[in-house]
Amino acid sequence: MESADLAAVWLTLKLATVVTLLLLIFGTPIAWWLARTHSRLKGVVGAIVALPLVLPPTVLGFYLLITMGPNGPVGRLTEALGLGLLPFTFPGLVIASVFYSLPFVVQPIQNAFEAIGERPLEVAATLRASPWDAFWSVAVPLARPGFLSGAILGFAHTVGEFGIVLMIGGNIPEKTRVVSVQIYDHVEALEYTQAHWLAGGMVIFSFLVLLGLYTFNPTRRKVL
């Protein structure tokens, strides 16, 4: 493999890791709220979280480009804060990917929380565990398979991202040129040998990820 290809692989892994961690941090409270709430807003929030499942990535990428650009609300905000503009930067890709992979992390965790039901938490409360304590020592361990599925799917989905990166990335080596874009470039440039290396690698990687998910986590198979 060329060094440019290796750089793309490394960048992709870095992006997927950062995005997965952020999604576990921000996705868990959303999943918890969605699993426990009786609010009328549940449907609205659930639908927003699920939007990236049905929207073409080019739609998301297009709107992110406009909102994060110099004339968009987010762009104006980041400029005012002295952060510069997000398109064509690694942090920009991270934010876009967090949106894009959100349902893949939130939904498995939400399903896992829902499967626990009220009972174990009520029991914990009678044993004088605070809600915070009950969450960490009862809900999280019981929902472990959901967290595992969510993390793996979020990671794998971010690795496979293409449309959004194309729209807001600008194809900059070591900043925004991820593996999927690099494969696309190789194919366009008729460099089929390099394309096969990376594309074949992606197929094997994805298969192994899903194999691991199904083999070690059979009870939560329905999340897919």
Partner: protein, 248 residues
Amino acid sequence: MKRLSLLVLSLLAIAGARADEVQVAVAANFTGPMQVISVLFEKDTGHKAVLSYGATGKFYAQIKNGAPFEVLLSADDETPARLVKEGAAVSGSAFTYAIGKLVLWSANPDLIDGSGAILKKGGFRHLAIANPKTAPYGAAALQTLGKLGVAETLKPLFVQGENISQTQQFVITGAAELGFVAFSQVIKNDRIGSGSGWIVPENLYDPIRQDVVILAKGKDKAAATALLSYLKTPKAAAVIKSFGYSLP
């Protein structure tokens, strides 16, 4: 029974009419002119050109793998030559239908003066170009910057579009302050329509020759041959010129 044979006959008639259709793969930068030409072509010859737009490299991969295209209007002259050599296109059918012009363009009306001095002056954060590895306009942009002696200093500011349309999108949205696009994308009444721009002098880059070729699937097909002849008519030439291309 009579009804059935009538149905079969009318279906055959439809199938017969379809034979006058030609499936055309069109380079993204030529979308505008080809939309106009295809209407004139249908009116004047009765044949119908069915158009698909995209990147030339992608078309190449699709054609090599059995795509139903009969004519390719390429963004370069290398892809048609290559297809002929590999037996996927009709030899001797290729010719240059348009020569592309490169423009440095910004959505901001005050940014670029008529001499492109901003490239040396700087003061911008991103310069959008089409991917030089895959898009002829990107390669021409890189060549221009090289001749001006600013390629190395500006390289860190590059953002690359997958094709020339996406490059223009980066500039239109303001995400990149300026970028190299095709004149055909920003032309209005023979000049740059909006924003500001610099038409790059033709001695700064090799001519962007765009060739058309009949593909193996379009061999001996009347509508395909007719389309290629039609591209050479003064009527088609006028359309091509009005979109900012020059002719060989």
